[in-house]
Subunit: 432 residues, 2 copies
């Protein structure tokens, strides 16, 4: 039995069926460095997918911070320690001044679950609005707001799923302000349908760049209008920055583009560069009201090692100017993808925000018919060319690229060339 | 402003009010080693509280495992990696053969939330039974089963809280089999009350040693009878081993004493020696059924670094014979506490399971009136004598001691002498 076959058999035996695994021919990774990953055969892969190691795989400053603090002290926040405070001050400095309180946990799911509780507590409401093609985490409560994977429990009557703001396949050919109005109107209608059932609104939970939905070009004015409806009804705007945050979009936070300051921001994945840490940042009164009434303690949350890891990530992002790099290299990659679009009919649309890209594959540019099969084939073909990515979106047809923030123009050239070659092969296959 | 006062002011400013903090005069820790913790003044504390660093603070083998793997690779389980498999095989070997599947997450709350979902999925029920003085975690769903801290949401009608099996302050002077029957009968009544409302039972979630409740001597036969009622009604027995597990009780698992094999076991706190990792171990069919239907993925869960940390913890427990040490030193400490009980009227009851102890403080031995004030004073006085512990129980009057598993007889002598001195001072204060 080959190495991979043996690992698969052991996984099945220990973890059972249904554990998500990338690629038809899964990759067995053994080492990572910067933007590179290496498999057990010594083969090198350019990582164009992983946002968790945002400062690069195994960054020496992050490894050193974890190692040193793990060797010194690792306790919990019922004793005093500087790390959580040093980190908190540095993190909050990257936010609008109104977002001035922090709570730390370990996963994005925990952060979103806590945000839902804080919103319910402060508004007295139970109603939440999310989009119809998203994922926010895996707890019982957060699973209710995950519309990509329907929870077996079904959706409670306190949940409404509105259309995500798709400006590529827009309804009725709408565009501009009319499109923003149409989508925002769905939020208003959701609120009305809560009112009709005497359900009070607690909030709107969205990723500010709608990453899982396929990274759309959000119609200008949509967020303003949607959030205005929510706030008029007494609800809160919760921005899930688990994917969008920490410089990914060429700005510190995904919500900066719209200019609308959220009431609560949730953080996760890249926060500790791989070390499990997450958190929420909120308007002080929201978190304080909640904490005065409700005991919230997270054993591992905010421990000295987690905070040391997260602090090292912030420091590297600043020292290596990775926010700026995400913006500059992001633009460069996007131009490369746009050139590919001019060559390959299969590319219906190309979208980018910093170092986050969605390439919308279609069977025809006029009909814009999503081609999830092509996306699956491209992702698998590129894995064999040493390029790692995945796919997202309501239709599963959008190539998802989200490399470490230290991605360079040289890396970009390699990516674009490999994608070009693969799309040419796919195109040839399609026309055979 | 002193160092502590400044840290408190920064905490208030960044984290807001209501963050749990130990002691009237909080401790500012800077270093840990084995059973010892050191504050910023260089003062040494004997750690008699922390179970998370189960193999001792900053154990070199755990630090080395984390450092090396963090420097090599840290990804997620959608790529293949040996660590989760090597760990899974070693962990499952410590369980009954029927408990043969593993899922990894990051916190005890996540593990319990997942266990609830698995139980609901497999039973088709929604009803859960817990005790009336417990805590199982902080997600929205798990908060419903936390009876020490009432959730602001109130309790759903699908939750029943039964009396924990208290054999010290037993009702109507019952003891032995009659007491076990009386408590188990509450479980049956809870099931009946579900039936009366057409709520199907999903399961019973308890800590098998009832740690938060005050570590009672469980009446022999209670678990057998309670679980028999649950299973007869189609429900599952979920054992929350977040506190009881990994050798704490002088056996690998807290549920071993009753001989009743749970359907699902949840793991957390000591699992990674401080590194955030948690999990569930379950009968294969339960997890497999769930996974076949429901996407469950945890970004950080089971990553190579977390598994390396957890593997090092298992290895140290075995190499240093810490399960055996917990049993042997546990007996020794318990004898010391029993001698103190013979000297100090304030000690109503002494209970121990391996290296987990509850000392039940009372205002009078006849009335057994709980004395939470005395417990608070003793905990704070011992902090100033360089001994760290806390208190638990329905009445907050039970001294809670749960030191790292490498606790020695020499450590025990120090603890018992300091407690003796403190109780004498408290006794003198009480009679002044």
């Amino acid at each position: 039995m080959s190495g991979v076959a043996e690992l698969l058999a052991r996984r099945e035996r220990l973890l059972g069926p249904g554990n998500p695994l990338f690629y038809d021919d899964p990759v067995h990774l053994v080492r990572g460095q910067g933007v590179w990953l290496f498999d057990s055969d010594g083969r090198r892969y350019l990582d164009c997918y992983n946002n968790v190691p945002c400062v690069g795989h195994c960054h020496p400053a992050v490894v050193k911070a974890i190692s040193e603090q793990a060797g010194l002290l690792n306790t919990h926040t019922r004793y005093l320690h500087e790390n959580i405070l040093d980190y908190g001050e540095r993190l909050l400095a990257t936010f609008d001044a109104g977002l001035n309180r922090l709570a730390l946990a370990c996963t994005g799911s925990e952060a979103n679950d806590l945000a839902l509780r804080i919103a319910r507590f402060n508004t007295g409401g139970d109603g939440f609005i999310c989009t119809n093609a998203t994922y926010h985490g895996n707890t019982t409560a957060v699973g209710q707001l995950s519309s990509i994977f329907e929870p077996f429990e079904g959706y409670a009557e306190t949940i409404r799923r509105v259309s995500w703001p798709d400006s590529y396949r827009s309804p009725n050919g709408l565009s501009g302000a009319a499109l923003a109005d149409a989508y925002a109107d769905e939020v208003r209608q959701a609120i009305d349908s809560f009112s009709a059932r005497s359900i009070r609104l607690a909030g709107l939970l969205v990723c500010p760049i709608f990453a899982n939905e396929g990274l759309p070009r959000v119609p200008p004015g949509y967020m303003e209008k949607a959030v205005a409806h929510v706030r008029a009804a007494g609800g809160l705007y919760i921005a899930d920055e688990v994917q969008a945050g920490f410089g990914r979009v060429g700005k510190w936070w995904g919500h900066e583009d719209s200019g609308i300051i959220p009431d609560i921001v949730t953080l996760g994945k890249p926060m500790g560069g791989g070390h499990p840490i997450s958190g929420i940042v909120a308007r002080g009164e929201l978190l304080d009201n909640f904490r005065r009434s409700q005991m919230y303690f997270n054993t591992y949350g905010g421990n000295p090692v987690s905070c040391a890891a997260a602090m090292a990530v912030l420091a590297v992002i600043e020292q290596e100017a990775l926010v700026e790099n995400a913006a500059a290299v992001g633009d460069y990659v996007l131009k490369g993808f746009e050139e590919l679009q001019s060559k390959h009919e299969i590319i219906g649309d190309v979208r980018g925000r910093g170092l986050f890209f969605g390439i919308d594959l279609v069977t025809g540019r006029e009909a814009k018919t999503p081609s999830p099969d092509a996306a699956r084939r491209v992702v698998n073909a590129l894995r064999h060319k040493g390029i790692l990515m995945s796919r997202i979106g309501e239709h599963g047809n959008v190539l998802k690229l989200r490399p470490p923030l230290c991605f360079s123009k040289e890396n970009a050239d390699l990516l674009v060339a490999a994608l070009d070659e693969t799309l040419a092969q796919q195109g040839a296959r399609a026309t055979r």
